[in-house]
């Protein structure tokens, strides 16, 4: 930090005013009769203060001082009080309300400034001060540093985030414009709106530079947002014409940037020229390079839209007609391809005719084939076939018959032989052979064999059977006639 440069603007030098001071000091009347303690004239505080004041004001008529702003206060009265300092010294600075209103930037602590004004004293406090009527930032660099700091801070809060950006309505009914009611800006906007698409414009007149500008612009943005109904615009344009960075400073003010960021109504910023960028441009939903550009972004070109709607209308009707025409053509083409009923039947008819014709032939052919087959089989059906078979069978029957007879005969002969043998055996074993050997068989009247003498009583008739025949006999009590030596007493031979 350099030492404040203080130099007198007027051509007066301390030497010029020395006489004045001397005259004051030495020619002051003795107001008191008390013996003087020295030969110095005695002055009242006010007198010396006034003298100092005069000396100050005449010596340093007008000065230009560079330094860093210390604490800055704006009193209710509108006057601004601040300290201007460097490493070694501090100078009180006062700026009256009227001059403060002319400021094109916000004086704040730490900002390096150049103040211009008159040096004066404040007799009530035994102090001196610079009564500045002009105050400007010490070069653009100082302001830009201040701007950058604020930008970082607001960006960190997310005020510039892309996600916050609202789309600008395509065709707003009412456009709110925050700008000065005088000057080229509002006229440019209205002119371009009129060219493109005349709309209803609600102007919120504000100061666009100076101490009050920021507050007014912020209030206007908030005001539009607070409105309901017909006073609420669909889009807001905040505009200002070109100027120095100091001129545009209000649009870098935090209060304005916050109001723009918070606006629920889409906001277009257009401050200065294309190359100028103020912080409101970061917070707005859309940045236009110029006020005219803002009008262009706010509304579409009516003539183009009329043309477009017309074109759509034409294409709509055209589309319908072409659709109909296409269908008509398709219908025609399709119906042309559709065959006639006769044509459809003709083929079937032909097939039928052909089949019917072939049916007769087929029947005859079939009959012929069947007859031929019958003939083929018929020839094979002859009497010899049957008689041969019968003869073969009769022959076989004869053979079997013969074999049967032979078998029977053979069996018969065998049986006869066996019968004879058995008969002979039987003969050998029968009572007859016993009878032949001299025995007789006694049977009772009933024919039963008498086996025991006890079974016979005198007078019983019995039959005596001998080998050569039978003789009746009666059981007698005495001696019968003697016929043989051996009385035929029936033993129990069987």
């Amino acid at each position: 930090m350099q030492t404040p440069i203080v130099w007198p603007v007027a051509s007066r030098f301390p030497g010029d005013t020395g006489e004045e001071i001397s005259s004051l000091l030495y020619t002051a009347p003795m107001a008191d009769s008390a013996p003087p303690a020295s030969n110095l004239p005695e002055l009242s505080v006010s007198e010396i203060s006034q003298a100092v004041k005069r000396t100050m004001e005449t010596t340093f008529d007008r000065v230009r001082v560079r330094g860093e702003l210390g604490r800055v206060t704006v009193a209710k009265s509108g006057h601004m009080y601040a300290d201007l300092k460097d490493e070694n010294a501090s100078l009180s600075l006062v700026m009256w309300k009227g001059a403060v209103g002319q400021l094109r930037f916000r004086p704040e602590e730490g900002l390096e400034v150049i103040a211009e004004g008159k040096l004066s004293t404040f007799p009530g406090k035994s102090s001196y001060q610079l009564i500045a009527d002009r105050l400007e930032p010490a070069g653009v660099g100082a302001l830009l540093a201040q701007l950058e700091k604020l930008k970082q801070k607001l960006a960190a809060e997310g005020l510039f985030a892309a996600a916050r950006k609202k789309p600008i309505p395509f065709l707003p009914d009412t456009i709110g414009v925050v700008t000065s009611p005088t000057g080229a800006v509002i006229r440019d906007i209205l002119h371009r709106l009129g060219e493109r698409f005349p709309r209803r414009v609600l102007l919120w007149p504000v100061l666009v530079q100076g101490e009050q500008a920021a507050g007014q612009v912020a209030a206007a943005i908030r005001g539009f947002n607070s409105f309901e109904g017909s006073l609420r615009p669909d889009v807001i344009i905040v505009a200002r014409g070109g100027g120095s960075i100091e001129d545009l400073w209000a649009f870098n003010e935090e209060i304005v940037v916050r109001a723009a960021a918070e606006s629920a109504i889409p906001l277009i910023s257009a401050v200065g020229h294309e190359t100028d960028t103020t912080l409101i441009d970061f917070a707005s939903d859309l940045r236009a390079p110029t006020p005219t550009g803002a009008a262009e972004k706010a509304v579409p070109v009516r003539a183009q839209l009329i043309e477009q709607v017309e074109s759509f209308g034409g294409r709509l009707s055209g589309g319908l007609l072409r659709g109909m025409e296409r269908r008509r053509t398709e219908l025609r083409a399709t119906s042309a391809r559709l065959p006639r009923p006769e044509a459809l039947l003709a083929f079937a008819q032909q097939r039928f005719d052909r089949a019917a014709e072939r049916l007769g032939f087929a029947l005859q052919a079939n009959t012929r084939a069947a007859a031929a087959r019958f003939d083929r089989i018929g020839v094979r059906l002859r009497a010899e076939t049957l008689t041969q078979a019968m003869a073969r069978r009769a022959e076989r029957l004869g053979e079997l018959d013969k074999r049967l007879i032979a078998a029977v005969n053979r069996g018969l002969a065998d049986d006869t032989r066996r019968l004879r043998q058995t008969g002979r055996l039987l003969e050998t074993l029968s009572h007859r052979s016993v009878l032949a050997r001299g025995f007789a068989l006694v049977t009772d009247e009933a024919g039963g064999v008498v086996r025991s003498a006890g079974a016979l009583s005198t007078g019983d008739a019995v039959k005596l059977t001998f080998a050569d025949g039978a003789a009746p006999a009666v059981i007698g009590g005495g001696e019968g006639r003697k016929k043989g030596k051996a009385a035929p007493v029936q033993g129990s031979l069987f």
């Binding site: 309505p169 395509f170 065709l171 009611p181 005088t182 000057g183 509002i186 006229r187 209205l190 709106l193 009129g194 698409f197 005349p198 709309r199 209803r200 414009v201 609600l202 102007l203 919120w204 007149p205 206007a220 005001g223 539009f224 409105f227 017909s230 006073l231 009516r302 839209l305 009329i306 477009q308 709607v309 759509f312 209308g313 294409r315 709509l316 009707s317 055209g318 589309g319 319908l320 072409r322 659709g323 296409r326 269908r327």
Partner: protein
Amino acid sequence: MSREAPDPATLSFEQALGELEKIVAQMERGDVALEDSIALYQRGAALKAHCEAKLKDAQLKVEQIVLGPEGPRAEPAKIG
């Protein structure tokens, strides 16, 4: 689509224009059934009328916000 679509009068210009454009494209593609194409045409015609009405309403009217004791109001602007 035309049956449940909102009344054109409730649409913004941009919405109406956008829908009209879609309908035109659909008609020109020619893949719409005959009955639908007629309904579509009617919808398109209504949208077009709405757009035209919006375009007709084009008047530059400049008012100025005045903050009075009874609250804000708009009066004819005094442009310097």
